[in-house]
């Protein structure tokens, strides 16, 4: 089996010639009126194309309202208009389809060992993974690919999740706790697991991703719906504008006694030129491309709505560690409490950290070794029991049994206030000098870790945070965009203040517990703000579920990933910033093309109106400011321009309008200038150019 993985998504999928071919075929398939009806603007164009084709056939039969070549050309370009729009959509979908196909192939090839009874691992039926139902139990053994998302019921195994995370180090999965979730498509490296399927067939993580990438389940986003309504309104108005022109024209012919009424062909041409075909044709492609951009940033959004919401985010809640600062704080110094030797402090600090696998813990051991020559000790030799860090106690350490020589030692390291509480609860005294040391370290933006033994405070470990390079500038950009950054940290207020100042965040929440995070989100939302956050742990899940834009790290727990509406495959918390930009890009691309599309109408009027009524009102030729050669070439040029502009803008629709971190007013001015004013001017030049070409080719 080829381990076709989501890893491949990271490779930018270029537009291959195969994709173009496929898009061409798809754009023809999409001519099906039932499909077209989803898009009122382009549906009108299709109806117009059919109508002009009928008129062309009539003209071929010799009873046309205008020469057959002319009606035929108009009709042909109307068909092109529809096809170009379909092509843009097909092309946008194409990239995703290629990726989805690869994923689906791997999906189909996976077999599952369906178990009938939990106890007996030798009895199972080999079935295709697609046949698994929710609640089924299946067995995975060394070398097997896990067939579906599920929960480990029994067993412990090391699993290679690189297919999804890209992290090559295997992870342990076992029943119960935070590590019980497994994802379909990952592989068991050693041992075995019994897994209960937790997703409906086709509803697993991988399936959802396939669907998302394919765009099959793509629902219109709120803004897209609102925009569609506006575009439909424009379409209806212009439909009536064009339909009523026929009676107006008939009246005018009678009133001045010359000329012939405007032809249906011209009215259809005018209609197609007026309705917002540019945005109408590209709208779908813009949405799909937005989703695609997310995927290329290795972010899987569970809905387009989430991407759109990302553009509206007002507040970013950022975990300090890993986002604002480099993940690993380094222990740089031991400052003993009065009357305590540095060696004793270093010894206790090392003991408390021996089993601490966090980078901080390791850095303490390293510091103790380098500075005080204390070598690492074997945990089991000293009959110590290690107390892991918990979010509630905010302490970790070791309990060492008395060995006759020494009495029982309870060594703890942790946040200053946690240790203070701990000491005082046991009747110890927390020395004032330590308080001072802690404050000094905090003021410098470093983290003090207080070390205690039994009821005695030994001193403080100096943990230094390293703020990520360039992060301050990014926050400044965000501020210009009106986005507030809030740093969440378990550190005390002093430390948090210093780091916040260094990193340039707007606000911070110090000494934060998971429930504080949830409360903070709720408070912001009550004030009408949209909040985005990242999270990975199970304890982040409630906050993730509450946040408007919630990005779960792919390394995170299943519950975190389910609560989130986006998953970052790179597990990079800084990604949130890019997500916001992509969201904004999506809206901006729609806005600019809408403006451009409507602005285009001015020039089209000047091309078509004088031409349409040339026989009745020759005086209207004064409006022919482009000096288009003949009425026929004028109308044909406008229609051709209208069709070609869709093609010309496909790259922009797929790539998105470039995002710039400038204020709303500046952005509006810039876009109105480029797409509004530019949208008025461009077609004058374009239509004139096409007219000259037509004239040059003697087509008119």
């Amino acid at each position: 089996m080829t381990t076709q993985t989501i890893q491949d998504l990271k490779k930018p999928v270029g537009l291959t010639s195969g994709m173009y071919r496929r898009a061409l075929v798809d754009s023809l398939m999409k001519l099906n009126p039932r499909w077209m009806a989803r898009n009122p603007v382009m549906f009108v164009v299709e109806v117009g194309s059919v109508l002009t084709t009928a008129l062309w056939i009539k003209a071929l039969a010799g009873t046309g309202e205008a020469p057959a070549w002319y009606i035929g050309s108009v009709s042909l370009w109307l068909w092109f208009t529809v096809l170009f729009a379909n092509f843009s959509e097909a092309l946008a979908e194409g990239r995703g389809k290629a990726q989805a196909d690869a994923l689906r192939r791997s999906r189909r090839d996976t077999k599952a060992k369906l178990m009938s009874a939990l106890r007996d691992r030798s009895k199972f039926n080999l079935i295709s993974s697609t046949e698994l139902k929710k609640g089924d139990l299946f067995l995975v053994e060394t070398g097997d690919t896990i067939a579906a998302d599920g929960e480990v019921i029994e067993g412990v195994a090391s699993v290679d999740e690189s297919a999804i995370t890209g992290e090559s180090a295997p992870v342990i999965r076992e029943s119960g706790g935070d590590r019980s979730a497994v994802t379909g498509g990952t592989r068991v490296l050693s041992d075995w697991l019994v897994v209960r399927v937790t997703s409906e067939p086709g509803g697993g993580f991988l399936d959802r991703m396939i669907k998302l990438i394919e765009g099959a389940k793509r629902q219109k986003t709120p803004n897209e719906i609102a925009l569609n309504i506006l575009l439909a309104a424009f379409t209806i108005i212009f439909l009536v504008v064009c339909v009523t022109l026929l009676p107006y024209s008939i009246f005018s012919v009678t009133a001045v006694g010359q000329g012939t009424p405007v032809t249906i062909t011209v009215l259809v041409a005018l209609l197609v030129c007026l309705i917002p075909t540019t945005i109408g044709g590209l709208l779908s492609a813009i949405g799909i491309a937005g989703m695609d951009r997310m995927i290329r940033h290795n972010v899987i959004a569970t809905s387009g709505r989430a991407i759109e919401a990302a553009g509206d985010v007002d507040v970013l809640l950022l975990d300090k560690t890993g986002t604002v600062t480099l993940g690993n704080r380094m222990a740089t110094e031991f400052t003993p409490a009065p009357g305590i030797s540095k060696e004793r402090l270093a010894d206790a600090a090392q003991l408390a950290s021996l089993a601490d696998e966090t980078p901080e813990g390791r850095s303490i051991v390293v510091l103790a070794k380098e500075k005080y020559g204390l070598r690492g000790r074997d945990i089991h030799q000293i009959s110590a029991q290690f107390v892991p860090f918990s979010a509630q106690t905010r302490m970790s350490g070791a309990d060492i049994q008395s060995d006759g020589k020494n009495s029982r030692r309870i060594i703890r390291k942790g946040a200053a206030d946690a240790i203070k509480n701990f000491i005082e609860q046991q009747g110890g005294v927390y020395p004032a000098q330590v308080l001072q040391i802690v404050q000094e370290i905090s003021k410098m933006g470093a983290t003090p870790l207080v070390v205690s033994e039994n009821t005695e405070v030994l001193g403080v470990i100096h943990l230094k945070d390293i703020v990520k390079g360039g992060i301050k500038e990014r926050f400044a950009h965000l501020r210009k965009m009106g986005i507030k950054t809030v740093m969440i940290t378990g550190d005390n207020i002093l430390t948090a203040t210093a780091i916040a100042a260094e990193a340039g965040v707007d606000d911070f929440l110090a000494e934060a517990k998971p429930e504080d995070k949830l409360k903070l989100i709720r408070d912001y939302q009550k004030g009408g703000r949209l909040v985005a956050m990242t999270g990975d742990g199970t304890n982040d899940a409630p906050a993730l579920a509450q946040a408007d834009v919630a990005v779960a790290m792919n390394t995170g727990t299943q519950s975190a990933r389910e609560a989130a509406n986006m998953i970052d495959l790179d597990s990079n918390p800084t990604k949130l910033l890019e997500i916001v930009e992509i969201g904004k890009q999506l809206l901006m691309t729609r806005g600019t093309l809408t403006t451009f599309s409507i602005a285009n109408d001015v020039a089209k009027y000047f091309a078509i109106i004088p031409a349409a009524f040339a026989t009745t009102y020759p005086a209207l030729n004064a409006l022919n400011v482009m000096h288009l050669a003949t009425p026929e070439s004028a109308i044909l040029s406008a229609v051709i321009f209208n069709a070609l502009i869709i093609v010309a803008l496909i790259p922009l629709a797929l790539k998105g309008v470039k995002y710039r971190p400038i204020s709303a007013v500046h952005l509006l001015r810039r876009h109105l200038l480029i797409y509004g004013v530019g949208g008025v001017i461009a077609p004058f030049a374009g239509i004139k150019l096409i007219d000259m070409l037509l004239k040059g080719m003697n087509l008119s």
Binding site: P222, N223, A226, L227, I229, L230, A233, I236, I237, F238, V240, V241, C242, T244, L245, P247, Y248, S249, I250, F251, S252, A255, V256, L270, G311, D312, K480, G482, I483, K484, G528, R529, G583, K584, Q585, L586, L587, M588, R590, G591, T592, T594, T595, I598, A599, D601, Y605, F613, Y617, A619, L620, L623, S663, A664, V665, L667, L668, R669, H671, L672
Partner: protein, 580 residues
């Protein structure tokens, strides 16, 4: 264009801006039921009305209840006006013994006055008894305007409030608008008009012997001139203040007894826009940010000034066909010059152009010169001002709520342009708002274009045309544009007092008033529920010059794009033909 002409325009516009703040602040107090200096006078009347009509002034109503109140109130008013016309020959105060008005004309007129359109298919002095004018027209002039202001007040509260449900009480807003705003100003204006020569009596028409006897069309000798009389001033005052515009006499404010001097002309014109302009400030005050009001006023003002300049320029240049005849159209100290057909000497070209622009900018529709006889470009301005949807000042109340709908569309597209879900004054603009806004901008062009199409291809429609060529088309387009926007002015050459026009026009007026007011209230009902979104750096400010410019562009694009082809076949081609 003359220096003195420009001076008059400037003084007019400056006065509007200057008065906007004090009057606007006063109206905000009225809508917010705060104390005003008029309380001692009107407070008892107000309480009396509440007591008799069993209105609880403290009762808050949601948008549906308000919409029902608004519709029922209008419906009852409409029936009264209809009945008065049909029965006037049996009723008192009919010294000329005028007979019953035809059913279709009565319907059209009743709709016309209830909808604040005041389109007149009839000639006042030859059709309506004094009683009909007083109990029908004058009353509707007050309450249709007050109704518009009440809907605006409800709409503003929809924007000013957040996370709520109710918008206020239509009955209270309507009553207070009438008593505290319209009534005192109408009394003052009416008396000033009388002091200048507007008639105000209940006497029969006066017969005067002509200095030089003349002959009528049949050649019979005429020695007497019958001068129409009536309680005109009181009705004119409110017709201008309430952007109603229906004339007491057929010639409307061109009639010397309605509008006797340049001063009355100035005051009447001023009354047309005064309240609409000041309501912008009221809006700003009520939403707690007067800059928002000023920016709307700025957008309206800029469009008005540009339109005014085009119209004045066109009318000043006169009729090129006259030049060959040895006619002096050149303005000088003794000759107003320009296109004087259909204009009064005392007003000249400057005041006529100003009035025409102002009356079509507002949905007033009164005229001091005949728009039908304007140059094509002058006529184009009046058409365009209405086709923008009567949002450049517009009707009292209705104009501003119409403009706010355009603001929502502008905000929506601007929001997309800057990559953020659009919001206006803390309200997120979503699909429902766009649905209502689209409906609101959709209805008017559809009504106008379709009815015009129906008229130009039917015998009943084209039979009423009085001018040949493209001008005939303009007449029909104007009729439906005017009624479809509740304006009421006319290219009066069109004989609109026919069953066809009375009925189609009546429909246009009904649609444009109620089909728009109800979604507007629905929109307010949706906005009022929204949570307040606080302003941040990313919020697009809606009070900047850039936004004003954008709003103007949206108003112009939506208006101009819809009507450009129709205008091309009417005034535009006529202009080009005239210039040939």
């Amino acid at each position: 264009m003359t220096t003195n002409g420009m001076l008059q325009l400037f003084v007019y516009l400056a006065a509007l801006v200057v008065l906007a703040k004090p009057l606007g602040a006063f109206m905000a107090r009225v809508f917010q039921r705060e104390k005003t200096f008029l309380d001692p006078l009107f407070g008892p009347v107000e309480r009396l009305i509440y007591r008799f009509a069993k209105i609880n002034p403290d009762e808050e109503m949601d948008w549906k209840q308000n919409a029902v109140a608004f519709l029922l109130f209008n419906f009852v008013g409409l029936i009264v006006v209809y009945a008065l016309q049909r029965l006037q020959q049996f009723l008192p105060l009919n010294p000329q013994g005028l007979g019953a008005v035809s059913p279709d004309s009565s319907f059209n007129t009743a709709v016309s006055f209830a909808t604040n359109t005041n389109w007149q298919g009839y000639g006042g002095e030859t059709t309506m008894s004094y009683l009909t004018q007083m109990l029908g027209m004058t009353v509707q002039n007050f309450v249709s305007a007050a109704g518009g202001m009440a809907v605006l007040a409800l709409f503003i509260r929809g924007i000013a409030r957040h996370s709520g449900k109710t918008l206020g009480n239509f009955w209270v807003d309507m009553t207070r608008s009438t008593l505290y705003i319209l009534m005192p100003m109408a009394v003052v204006l009416a008396l000033v008009l009388v002091s200048q020569g507007s008639v105000q009596n209940l006497s029969p028409y006066v017969s005067a012997s002509l200095l030089q006897p003349t002959a009528d069309t049949s050649g019979a000798k005429v020695t007497e001139q019958v001068i129409a009389m009536g309680p005109a001033a009181s009705q004119i005052a409110i017709k201008q203040l309430g952007t109603n515009g229906g004339g007491f006499f057929n010639a409307n404010s061109a009639h010397p007894l309605e509008n006797p001097t340049p001063l009355t002309d100035f005051l009447e014109m001023f009354s047309i826009l005064m309240i609409a302009a000041a309501l912008c400030y009221t809006f700003g005050k009520m939403v707690g940010d007067t800059r928002q009001g000023w920016s709307l006023l700025a957008a309206m003002m800029i469009i008005l000034v540009v339109a005014l300049f085009v119209a004045y320029q066109a009318e000043s240049r006169g009729n090129p066909k006259f030049n060959a005849l040895g006619i002096d159209q050149f303005a000088s100290a003794v000759n107003p010059g320009g296109n004087m057909e259909g204009k009064e000497v005392r007003f000249g070209v400057a005041n006529s152009s100003l009035w025409a622009t102002v009356t079509t900018a507002a949905s007033n529709g009164s005229v001091n010169a005949m728009h039908d006889s304007f140059t094509p470009m002058g006529g184009l301005v009046t058409l365009v001002m209405m086709q923008l949807g009567e949002v450049v000042f517009g009707g009292v109340g209705s104009g501003l709520y119409g403009m706010l709908v355009f603001v929502i569309v502008a905000v929506f597209v601007a929001g997309l342009l800057v990559g953020r879900t659009p919001e206006y004054l803390g309200h997120k603009i979503e699909a429902y708002e766009m649905k209502m806004a689209s409906l609101l901008i959709l209805i008017m062009p559809l009504t106008v274009l379709l009815l015009t199409a129906l008229a130009v291809v039917s015998q009943a429609g084209t039979g009423s045309i009085s001018n040949p060529g493209p001008h005939g088309f303009s007449e029909i387009l104007y009729a439906f544009t005017s009624q479809g926007n509740n304006n009421g002015s006319a290219f009066a050459g069109l004989n609109a007092n026919t069953p066809f026009y009375n009925i189609t026009g009546g429909l246009a007026m009904l649609i444009s008033r109620y089909w728009l007011a109800v979604p507007t209230l629905a929109l307010a009902g949706s906005l009022v529920r929204k949570k307040l979104i606080p302003v941040s750096e990313g919020t697009l400010p809606t009070h900047t010059p850039l936004f004003v410019f954008w709003l103007i562009a949206v108003v112009l694009i939506v208006g101009a794009l819809n009507f450009f082809p129709a205008l091309a076949l009417g005034p535009i081609v006529e202009h080009l033909m005239m210039m040939q």
